[in-house]
């Protein structure tokens, strides 16, 4: 009676008295266990953020009584810590949970929701319902809803349990599935509902797996696309087989390492090292490409097998040179902050940011490549030389220069691929060897000379590879893809997008 009167008074004079209510409640912490527990509950109900450190200190034994009977945080070893018993501890857990649930820090609210999910007590139901009502962050809401459903599932009333089951079915995480399985064993009466809920979760989980596999496939495909695009230009357009292409990718990755190290001391530029690496890697590998084409490859035009062997030797030399200069051990390239972390999509699908960036980067590079070939003077000359070298020469096109430019362009794309690869793979001297065979498979599968084919080929191989992986393992999946390509070219020897007849546009 007296208490309800007090509450009424508090409500009437809320703004003015809130301060006093907080101070009053604090005083209780210095009393006996009974009053301690009541004070803790009161502080929890008040929801004042200032109570949180105090209650945490109480739970951890860092709170001391002052001379005037109130409490304060212990400094050093001064004073006797306030002792508590189990009843107070129970009250503390609830109060802390509530306070954390209302904390202004998002991560703390999320952690509190997770804590309540684990404790799975029906007493937390009103608390969670209240917090859920105020919560604005969708990620935290999701966690709170899960905690609420778990708490409801623990409630004695069947109706409340059912509510919990429904929510869990909707949430659809693997954790919820485990929770439901547990509940099914404990409450046979609810079996039909629980089974339906589990089936719903399984469907959602399957979708989630499919979506994540597709994403991983796209991600692998985009790396393949980047590695294969340069090859599609040098091999597909020029017909020059460059076995040192993988080393161009490797040089691109090492350029990224160098740029990062050079900019480390300049705070204004350091976060931009990755974007700055893209043009740097392009220029470095394009320069190497020009040197290789003008110096060596040009003497072997029309002799593809010799070109293959020669460029393999060049690849070996580049690899060994990098090994001697930079050492054989892996170098690390840091991801900038904006590329780190994961992105949560509805349905619990998690996407790593850096892979998403690589997909976008690959598509951008593809777009630039196509645009360069279609719409620039250089692209026009390149296509002319591909179609008929002699006529192009008679029209005043310097075919040697076009060859060099084309090769530089293809090599430069490989260098840009290296920047992307440095984000997901170890940067080591033999980085390129792993990519060369895959890139050739992509080009052959997609159809030599077709950039659209290269793109579709890369993404198809990436996705098929990732689809096979769960049941075949990474190595067997790779082998299966190789065998698949062998069989595929039986049906379509020229690849997916074969150039037929006299049309030979890149």
């Amino acid at each position: 009676m007296l208490r309800s009167l007090l509450v009424l008074l508090l409500l009437l004079a809320a703004p003015a008295r809130a301060q006093d209510a907080f101070t009053d409640a604090l005083r209780g912490l210095g009393g006996n266990f009974q009053s301690q527990a009541e004070a803790v509950e009161k502080l929890g109900a008040l929801g004042d953020p200032r109570a949180l450190p105090l209650l945490q200190a109480l739970a951890e034994g860092r709170l001391v009584k002052t001379a005037d009977g109130t409490v304060q945080l212990r400094e050093g070893d001064a004073g006797e810590p306030v002792r508590i018993n189990n009843r107070v501890r129970v009250a503390l857990r609830g109060a802390l949970g509530r306070l954390q649930l209302l904390s202004p820090v998002e991560a703390e609210r999320a952690a509190a929701a997770d804590g309540l999910f684990r404790s799975r007590s029906p007493e937390n139901i009103p608390l969670l319902e209240d917090a859920l009502g105020r919560e604005s962050s969708p990620a935290v809401r999701e966690r709170m809803a899960l905690a609420l459903a778990a708490s409801r599932l623990a409630a004695p009333q069947e109706g409340v349990k059912r509510q919990g089951i429904l929510v869990l079915a909707e949430g659809g995480s693997a954790v919820a599935r485990g929770l439901l399985l547990e509940a099914r064993a404990a409450h046979p009466a609810l079996a039909p509902e629980i089974d339906a809920a589990i089936a719903a979760i399984d469907r959602r989980l399957m979708l989630k797996t499919a979506a994540e596999t597709a994403f991983q496939g796209l991600s692998l495909g985009s790396v393949l696309l980047l590695a294969a695009l340069g090859l599609a230009v040098t091999f597909g357009v020029m017909g020059v087989i460059n076995m040192a292409h993988g080393e161009m990718v490797m040089l691109g990755a090492y350029t990224t390492v160098m740029v990062q190290e050079a900019l480390r001391g300049i705070p204004a530029l350091a976060p931009l090292s990755l974007p700055l690496s893209v043009p740097a890697a392009f220029l470095v590998t394009a320069a190497v490409g020009v040197a290789l084409e003008r110096g060596l490859i040009r003497h072997l035009y029309g002799r593809p097998l010799e070109t293959l062997l020669m460029t393999f030797g060049v690849g070996m030399i580049i690899q060994q040179a990098v090994r001697l200069i930079f050492g054989a051990q892996n170098r690390e390239v840091l991801s900038p902050a904006w590329m780190q972390g994961t992105l949560s999509l509805p349905g619990g699908i998690e996407i790593t940011q850096n892979r998403l960036w690589i997909i976008l980067f690959a598509l951008a590079v593809l777009g630039i490549t196509i645009a360069a070939i279609r719409f620039t003077r250089f692209g026009l000359e390149m296509r002319a030389v591909v179609q008929n070298r002699r006529i192009a020469a008679t029209m005043g096109i310097r075919t040697g220069r076009v060859d060099a430019m084309t090769f530089a362009f293809g090599s430069g794309i490989a260098g840009m691929a290296g920047v992307a690869v440095s984000q997901i793979d170890n940067v080591s001297p033999n980085l390129g060897t792993g990519y060369i065979i895959d890139s050739f498979m992509v080009v052959v599968f997609g159809g030599v000379g077709s950039l659209a084919g290269t793109m579709i080929g890369a993404f198809t191989l990436g996705i098929v590879n990732k689809m096979l992986e769960p049941w075949a393992g990474a190595v067997l999946a790779k082998i299966a893809v190789l065998v698949g390509i062998m069989l595929f070219i039986q049906r379509r020897p020229k690849g997916l997008f074969a150039l037929k007849g006299r049309a030979a546009e890149p």
Binding site: L305, I437, M486, Q490, P493
Partner: protein
């Protein structure tokens, strides 16, 4: 012209005799090595165990080089996967040698090799059945590479995959096999492969007598392979191969089934490579998945390029000379070796397309 050793390239008159002389002298010197090994070490002519075992290894490499020359130099099939055929031959004999260890393994299991006991196998997988018999294992060393070459070659030649496409496909083949053999659950010893062999045909392996016998076996195989290849390339089939290499579609219009012709030579070449591998494993005492690495195959191609392709003798010259440089260089400047090897690729293709033996050739043609 019927006196030429090589059909792919033609020699100056007299060069053939010189080459044949060098060849016979080389083979004779090789044949003497195990004998000189028996001399007392202080003798001026004494040859160390190391030299015998290293040259035994080179003989196996020379057989592999012959196999590559037959396919590449004559039929124009540049396989970058011959190392896989070599390794498969080596594994087949390796499996026999593993079975012959018997209960002498670390775990002392009467049937299972150590690595199987370690991995918890309870019985021999079916892939190992029959390998306790040497004739069976030896046959498999030829049949398995032959079959693989047959399947890959059939699929590739039938859909007219030629030139660099074929090279890449064969490279992918050996790459895939390397990945597969690195796996423990393939049942072939994972990345450790096979080693610690004890005996072959009742003969303990780590004696100098056994080494000499294996050395002579390899040398005889090399001689036999050389005669076989020489016979084949001098026959009309050899001329068909050269024709296929230079203008395959024209050969088809003459009525030859070029798929069958190429398949025949590719399978034969793969079996020769398998034979080389089968001799190699007992000689060096180890076989592991590294032998499948694409780099090994392409290195073997360079032996042939350096020696001069389409000459058979060039394959031998290249295999011995490049490996001699390698052994010499890696002993004191291992960092340099890869530069030299890479440089060889570049130099040979740019400046010496017909190889060392090609220097002796008529100056006509392309």
């Amino acid at each position: 012209m019927s006196a030429t050793i090589s059909m792919g390239q033609r020699l100056r008159p007299g060069s053939a005799t010189i080459l044949r002389g060098i060849l016979l002298a080389g083979l004779a010197i090789l044949a003497m090595l195990p004998v000189l090994n028996r001399l007392p070490p202080e003798s001026a002519l004494y040859v160390s165990d190391f030299v015998v075992s290293v040259s035994g290894k080179w003989i196996c490499y020379a057989i592999l080089a012959l196999a590559i020359d037959l396919a590449w130099g004559y039929a124009g099939i540049l396989s970058l996967g011959h190392g896989a055929f070599f390794a498969l031959g080596g594994y087949a004999i390796g499996m026999h040698l593993m079975r012959m260890i018997g209960p002498r393994g670390v775990y002392g299991h009467p049937v299972l090799p150590d690595f199987m006991v370690f991995l918890g196998y309870t019985e021999l997988p079916w892939t190992w059945w029959g390998f306790s018999s040497f004739p069976f294992a030896f046959a498999m060393a030829l049949v398995v590479p032959g079959l693989l070459a047959g399947v890959v070659g059939y699929l590739a030649f039938r859909s007219r995959i030629t030139g660099v496409y074929l090279s890449i496909i064969t490279q992918a083949m050996t790459y895939a096999l390397m990945l597969a053999f690195f796996r423990n659950d393939m049942g072939f010893g994972g990345n450790n492969g096979f080693t610690d062999f004890k005996e072959l045909l009742g003969m303990p392996l780590n004696t100098s007598g056994a080494r000499a016998l294996l050395f002579y076996a390899a040398l005889i195989a090399l001689g036999g392979a050389l005669l076989l290849c020489a016979h084949l390339t001098r026959s009309k089939l050899g001329r068909v191969l050269v024709a296929v290499r230079d203008a395959e579609s024209r050969v088809r219009f003459l009525g030859y089934d070029t798929v069958r012709v190429k398949l025949t030579v590719f399978v034969l070449s793969a079996m020769l490579a398998g034979l080389a591998g089968a001799l190699y494993t007992p000689l060096v005492g180890i076989i592991n998945p590294g032998e499948f690495s694409p780099g090994n195959s392409i290195e073997a191609v360079v032996w042939v390029a350096v020696g001069g392709r389409g000459t058979l003798v060039g394959a031998l010259v290249g295999a011995f000379s490049v490996n001699a440089i390698k052994t010499w260089l890696t002993s004191f400047a291992p960092d340099l070796w890869l530069f030299v090897l890479g440089g060889l690729f570049v130099a040979v293709t740019l400046f010496l397309p017909r190889g060392i033996v090609g220097l002796l050739h008529k100056g006509d043609g392309k």
